[in-house]
């Protein structure tokens, strides 16, 4: 008898479950593990499910180092995500591997994308199709330590605006001990951090060059502009002695410890710098050159739809993607993660532009470039090695840049063949 009741209960349970799953659509969202990003997404999913009771979204996360491999492996076994986060620089690989599908034009019309998002969204376009939309974007700015500025007799309210002022401020704030060892750096020098982006997309352009051809398939910095940009950078250590590669191990560590007056870093560093208690810091736009030319590097993680998603799951995915790239979602993302909204309307609000921390990053989005890396780690390595050859092996900037250009071109060519 008891067994009978149990069985009956079991059957009802199963049938209720079956009916439910037939009505509701469940889609899976994947991103990498980063506490605030997960928290923001949890909140977005909650809002979305409230507005769309027939759709449930399951968030799955993996450690960053594993993330790409997991997406690929899941795709091979046919159990990939419906909506996934991907770095803009992975797009070529993801398209080649059949991991993402073009965004359906009915839900994401091109003219709307192009007028409402910042121009850097074009990095998600291949041919006539967009393959993803960002929620938030990142750009670079100059962080400066107000306490060290004051001690050196500089006005903490007017940070350097031009490259010359930047060098002058670094010279004033740098300190050395009796043996000539650096104790406080005027500026951090960390090619492994964001300096390679600064060199690539900003310094080269400010010296009259272009780092790559427009489609980023050819390296074009092996010329006078590139040499000048490299020499400017290495001179900071060898001539002006205002910075040292490897000082305090990492640039951001030196700045955090109050041992560097300036550092160039991205929006993603805000969270970590906000916990600094020993001194006040400020943010300003990257310095212009004498002619007033500005540039910046912006990057982002976009959200795309899995290649094999179709039917009602596709409809649900479209709705979800539209929501997580809506102005409302961007506001949540800015408040929780601290990353800048990817839409003009959500980004360039009065409140944001008046914010002393956000505004330098936001202003940069209009003139920023987004390097189309084929293998970011390997291409960054060529820049790190280029600087090290000059600083550690006393190679001439001319030779070093020629070697770097050849090495990077090989990486780009190898990726195009694949």
């Amino acid at each position: 008898m008891r067994r009978g009741i149990l069985l009956a209960g079991l059957f009802t349970g199963i049938s209720v479950f079956a009916v439910n799953s037939a009505q509701a659509v469940e889609i899976e969202y994947w991103q990498y593990v980063y506490e605030t990003r997960i928290k923001a997404m949890d909140q977005l999913i909650e809002n979305f499910e409230k507005a769309n009771p027939d759709i449930t979204v399951k968030q799955t996360t993996f450690p960053y180092a594993d993330y790409q491999t997991r997406v690929v492996a899941a795709n091979m076994s046919g159990s990939g995500p419906d909506v996934m986060q991907l770095f803009y620089g992975w797009l070529d690989q993801f398209i080649a591997g059949g991991l993402v599908q073009p965004l359906p034009v009915d839900a994401f019309p091109h003219d709307k994308i192009e007028s409402e998002f910042f121009p850097i969204v074009s990095a998600m376009k291949r041919g006539d199709d967009y393959y993803g939309l960002p929620t938030a974007v990142r750009s670079l700015a100059l962080f400066y330590n107000k306490k060290l500025f004051q001690e050196a007799g500089l006005d903490p309210k007017s940070p350097p605006k031009t490259v010359d002022e930047f060098v002058a401020a670094a010279e004033k704030t740098a300190k050395h001990d009796a043996n000539g060892n650096m104790t406080v750096a005027g500026t951090t020098m960390d090619m492994a951090g964001q300096d390679h982006q600064w060199w690539r997309e900003v310094l080269i352009r400010q010296n009259g060059g272009e780092p790559y051809t427009a489609d980023y398939s050819k390296v074009t910095y092996n010329n006078d502009a590139g040499i000048k940009a490299l020499k400017f950078y290495t001179d900071l250590q060898t001539e002006q002695k205002v910075g040292e590669v490897g000082f305090m191990d990492e640039g951001q560590a030196a700045f955090r410890a109050g041992r560097a007056a300036m550092t160039i870093d991205g929006t993603f560093r805000l969270g970590s710098f906000k916990s600094i208690k020993d001194f006040e810091w400020g943010v300003t736009e990257l310095p212009t050159n004498a002619a007033g030319i500005r540039s910046n590097y912006a990057s982002y993680f976009a959200n795309g739809i899995g290649a094999k998603v179709s039917g009602e799951k596709l409809e649900a995915s479209k709705k979800f993607l539209a929501y997580i790239s809506s102005p409302e979602a961007m506001k949540v993302w800015l408040d929780t993660v601290g990353e800048l909204p990817a839409r003009r309307s959500a980004a360039l609000t009065e409140a944001n532009l008046a914010d002393p921390i956000y505004s330098p990053f936001l202003k940069a989005l209009d003139y920023a470039h987004t390097t189309l890396f084929v293998d970011e780690a390997a291409q960054r390595q060529t820049a790190i090695d280029m600087v090290n050859r000059v600083l550690l092996e006393k190679q001439s900037p001319e030779d070093s840049i020629a070697q770097a250009a050849t090495a990077e071109q090989e990486i780009i060519d190898a990726a195009k063949i694949k």
């Binding site: 180092a65 790409q68 491999t69 690929v72 690989q93 993801f94 080649a96 591997g97 059949g98 991991l99 001990d177 043996n179 060892n181 650096m182 104790t183 960390d190 090619m191 492994a192 951090g193 040292e244 590669v245 490897g246 000082f247 305090m248 191990d249 990492e250 041992r259 293998d375 780690a377 390997a378 390595q381 790190i384 090695d385 090290n388 050859r389 550690l392 092996e393 694949k418």
Partner: protein, 290 residues
Amino acid sequence: MRHKRLIWVWTFLALPILFYCVIRFYPTLQAFYLSFTNWNLMKPPKFIGFANYVKLYNDPQFWKVFRNTFTYLIIGTPVSLLISFVISFYLDRVRILHGLIRALYFLPFLTTAAAMAWVWRWFYQPAPIGVINDVLGLIGLPQQAFIRSVDQALPSIMVTSIWAGLGFQIIIFMAGLRAIPSTYYEAAKIDGLGEWPILWKITLPLLKPTTVFLVVFSSIGFLRIFDQVYNMTTNDPGGPLGSTKPLVLMIYQTAFSSYNMGYAAAQTVVLFAILLAVSLLQLWILRERK
């Protein structure tokens, strides 16, 4: 009876054998196959013959990495064995606090390689924060670049690696020393043999099985060095300018940063061949001559 026992033995052995076949031997064979393909995770692998090996042979970075790997091996193994033998030889005679001292030597072996590497990484920093450079400054010696120098970086990392493995080698040597019957020593003393002859004629020959084990073990360890290097140079892995990069790190980067699985598999096969050749060579050189 015997038959029944055999069945039992094989039943118990079957599980580990199966396990090994699935997670060890099959992937190994798969790696050999992949080394002849251009697999990049995204698309199904395509057979490309020996192209990966040709590329490897013509890759200057590979030869640099090859040289680094052998530098770790050729300097690391003898130096670490010599130090650990000397320490265990004298530690064997210490009676006071013997256990404590032995534990102290063994401690680094129990510590996570990553944690240790990070501590050493800070030791090696320039003056304001680096302990070693601080001391050098105090006694008036010039500052050293250590891991920021193309010449000093590899030895600097090797030192930490030797230090980390020392505890294990000392324990094994001590066990070997203890296993030598004391009657030999007593007989030698009665015959009036001095310290050196005892060491050369009794201790070292009888310690040979222990030494062979440690030589092979430590060589494989140095040929596969990775954690120390990777953690001490995370921002510029294997740098500066590739001067500390061992083969395993190159494989790791090729596979999991550039996703060139086929090329990485070819590098793995080469590493496998090196490990096999070096181990066989050592066993042959150090074999028992009867």
